[in-house]
Subunit: 246 residues, 6 copies
């Protein structure tokens, strides 16, 4: 195992500097810019009347997500999916993950026949965009649902609790929290964890492309992820208070 060196002198168990800017755009019901180091994701929540056809007359709401990346979010330009005429597999995989994670914290009965769309657009990418998107989207969602309460449309927010996410991985034999792109590209194992404020797990996905991992490695990654997510949950709550103050 080589000695650990992380950019910015970070230790293995530290998150990158996180910044949450509520109200980043004024056009959306809920809006947050989340920055994790150099990763920047704009999360906007839209609430629309009605639900998809297969849910109609169920009295229940729906939450879905879309994920995009600006062409120059990356160091070499990526062609627009609109130009290629189709949404790629990676995009599909990520937006399904975001959607499932956010559905875990909404009381669909209380939401009623409304659809919340969470648009997560990556302005700059440096690893961990999907987990940043989940953490940011939850704040945007909370803001948007609070507005429904403020407007008197709903009596209470259908948000049951907060959800946040982070990535962990094994790089050069070290278990690391919140991988930046350069670390992620060298990782032998890469894991995304989505956890509720009450500690319940919503998604755990651990993937090995270069090597396999053992149960004890999986447990070490989970321990680290849970600690990181707890930090993120605190930051989300602070951002929501700040956002309300404004």
């Amino acid at each position: 195992m080589t000695q650990l060196f992380r950019p910015g002198g970070r230790s293995a168990t530290m998150l990158r500097p996180i910044r949450l800017t509520p109200g980043y755009v004024g056009t959306a019901e809920g809006s947050v810019l989340i920055e994790a180091g150099n990763t920047r994701v704009l999360c906007n929540a839209t609430i629309e009347a009605g639900v998809p056809g297969w849910m109609r007359n169920s009295g229940r709401g729906w939450v879905t997500a879309e994920y995009g990346m600006l062409p120059r979010a990356t160091l070499t330009r990526t062609a627009r999916e609109s130009e290629r005429g189709k949404v790629g597999g990676r995009t599909h995989e990520i937006q399904r993950l975001i959607g499932r994670s956010l559905r875990a914290v909404v009381d669909m009965k209380a939401l009623g026949e409304r659809t919340v769309i969470l648009d997560c657009d990556v302005l700059q990418a440096d690893g961990g965009t999907r987990t940043a998107a989940i953490s940011g989207a939850c704040v945007a969602l909370a803001i948007a649902l609070d507005k429904l309460v403020l407007a008197g449309t709903l009596k209470a927010s259908p948000l049951k609790q907060m959800v946040a996410a982070t990535s962990v991985g094994i790089v050069d034999g070290h278990v690391l929290l919140d991988l930046a792109y350069e670390e992620d590209s060298r990782a032998t194992v890469d894991m995304n964890v989505v956890m509720l404020a009450d500690g319940g797990l919503v998604e755990t996905q651990a993937t090995a492309e270069k090597d396999s991992y053992s149960r004890s490695e999986l447990n070490a990654m989970l321990d680290l992820a849970e600690a990181g997510i707890r930090e993120m949950l605190v930051l989300q709550t602070e951002a929501l208070k700040a956002g309300t103050a404004v």
Copy 2:
């Protein structure tokens, strides 16, 4: 917790009856029909010269997968993706999972600049199609690579070891192995595990839509999955021997 009842009198820790039919079609380099209860997936391996553009002149090979479902694999007909003009998110997610899983067992340097495409087409769906596809595709891959050896193109098979997969989940409070569709649709947690013959984990994905899960539940699911995958690894080896006998 309600008392457990599974169709066919299966216990919580039993796989459905598995049948592997090597050589199901004669047109492909490697072909297997895998049946797990009423789930039937036809897995065909194709070996083509050359690799995708971004890998050219690396001296290394590539393994990828495509997944499809016949319109009437399901109880209500699903429109063809060719008619809708695009591949859906679920399909993308699944074929990326299959591709990653199979890449874990191939020595790309030994394969050389060749691409293996694993086509996994679901003829009938009753839950667990993606894990059946992985287990079946590995057999089709092994057969196709053996043919390269037989033909004298390669000195030894680039297959490092076998890989197999299964699903586990929590239904009505019971941790169950190898969920059928009806069980899967009622599950509060659904998990797919991909494991190597040497016990190394390649993918673990545990998803909760209706509820969250604890670390101990995650461990119980993993224990069960590992046992199920070990059974599947034995069946794969038997099928390969039978296939060679033919």
Copy 3:
């Protein structure tokens, strides 16, 4: 004219061995696997409520077909139409032919405002897939319509009579019945004939790419096709009886 040699010692006027397996999948209203030599086509019938917009409130039903080929149905892999994002010309031509052929045997008034979709998917291709699809689809259609009668939804089956099809062609000067792929690729004339149980012709399509044909050659091909289709009609009826027995 060279001396005739056909694989398997077939004479010019013999069909390949035909096998019809009713109930091949349990998920569809009507399902048949038809095998003609190495050609294998899975035909599934779906009955849906309602008709296309332009037929609404006509009191009449509709029958349509979709045709697909698994990527490794062929000796060299064919890219999926879903990946290419569009249905090709050959597929369109074939599914229109199947649809027209099956509409010829259904009493649309008796069917009422229902749509029958016949999915014909080629698992393995060795020539004659479109004619096999027609012969198989008619059996799947018959089974599905019988279920409507059994369920009491309809008083009698709207199926007026059976329809079947075969290919004929001229290879090395010989008029041959039921061409396999290798024969088809050498044929100077290729013909598909669709005929009703009462002997009425529904479709006759004779195409010359390499050479033209005379009226007498056309008549010879028609004679041979009619004989072959009569055999197929007997096999369909037997399969339906066997299917009912199950």
Copy 4:
């Protein structure tokens, strides 16, 4: 059988008034406007260097066709295929027929590695557009190939002979030549015949949607079609002479 009445007092065995205008556009290598009654199809031939990938280095040429219909060629407007983002089944079927028919009259070896594209665009549709397109495209093709000879690029035209087409059908029990739209929509059987100048048949397609047809009806239709095509072949030759005169 009701008494026959055809618009314009035509007898059952008469073509509609045919007009061929060579050189209709000045931009194409070969151009003809063909009018058959109210059906008007603009046929333009393009000769491009090179052949499709699968034919490269074969020393042989290729002939292909594309068919389109202006939105208001029909009495009710048809949406553009460019707007719908895909080419429909009917269009595919027709352009494949035109392509095959024209390939039958070109010596591909003599053409060399060149591709001829025949664009057939319907300005006004009143039945028989695909057969008009074949007859017109052959004239456009002849003009374009003659230019290659005039330019000294080829020593002799690779056109082996002319090809022409017509439709026949059974309407109210009458066998009719060259159906107009209103007749076509009432026909019980509709047949397209493509024939060479030497009398050889290239394509015969007889389709019954409402009823079936007997062998003797098929023969009656073929007799009538052959007579109509012979008339068309004379008109093509006259148009080519007139075109050369210009």
Copy 5:
């Protein structure tokens, strides 16, 4: 500044010979073939009941345009947009311009909830196709709206006045009216002007790709364009009278 030479001995301030043929196709509610020198555009007007969703129940009508070019309208063949599966940027830009121009002359309240679609298809292109399309489409529109009056559906035509267009540009230092393709490709500035019969401007678009232009050059171009459009307005009116006579 080089001495001016224009094909056909045209002076800088002359339009090319214009020909308007009303009723070019009999299938459309309004139809005109407009020819400006070698540029030929077929303009067909369709009137459909109803308006796009966002206008429903407004009591107002809508006018829109679609523009297409036959593959061999140009000297080298252009691939069909239907084959490429999407409408290109240039097409979009032009059909939006035509639509806006025509909406300027229709009283949408008087039209009521109807949609007029103006299909402008270029049969042969020699520069100025978009302005020819506007001038032609206005005539087709006038004819179609007059038919609604004749049929008693409307009391008076909702057409408030005529609109016409032309191009101007600067070539080799000369300000020229109505550029042909060869002139257009050498122009340093290219301008399209759309003007009403009462002299009001609807669209002015002046584009410099190779060089910029001054305010005085802009004014010179506008003067010339206005004169040209006045001529076109006279020709439109004559064509409408002739069309009515027929």
Copy 6:
């Protein structure tokens, strides 16, 4: 004419507050966030080796632009073009305008066979996004080209001069500079002007949907636009200096 009231107490001849933030993302060769009031457009310049096929071996470079809008840049959510599978007409029109405008200021010979892609993505939209995109893209372009000089790849920047743009329009009879969305939606005439630092005009597009405009109105709009663009050109130069300082 009603009395003029503009949000923020702006006079008719004032631009909205403009802010240019060079280096907004660190991943692109040139990056600027341009804000004009509530309109925010992120402009990133990418320089790639090579040019489109039709320009190869010309020794000349190419400049092109792509324009996008995040779904919640607008008050009601707009569906992603990637989801709809095609780029819309408005997007096409805008990105063609941006591309032409920027090509006017680059010495393509000096650029050599390189392609500059200008990605202009609207984070928040409040009118004037296309003109803001042009003004911002020019700064991003300048930064990116300067880097090529700094890196020693080019001896001097191929940027000949700056280009900027603004919108003007007529609202309630007032000629206004730099329209916000609410003004734009009520405007009877809307004009975009693109001008070089030396005062040469590159694009002038004046459009009337609700009414027409006179030559004197056109001149008044041009006067106002020229003054506004001169202000913008000063701000661009300041931003470039500030950007270099960083």
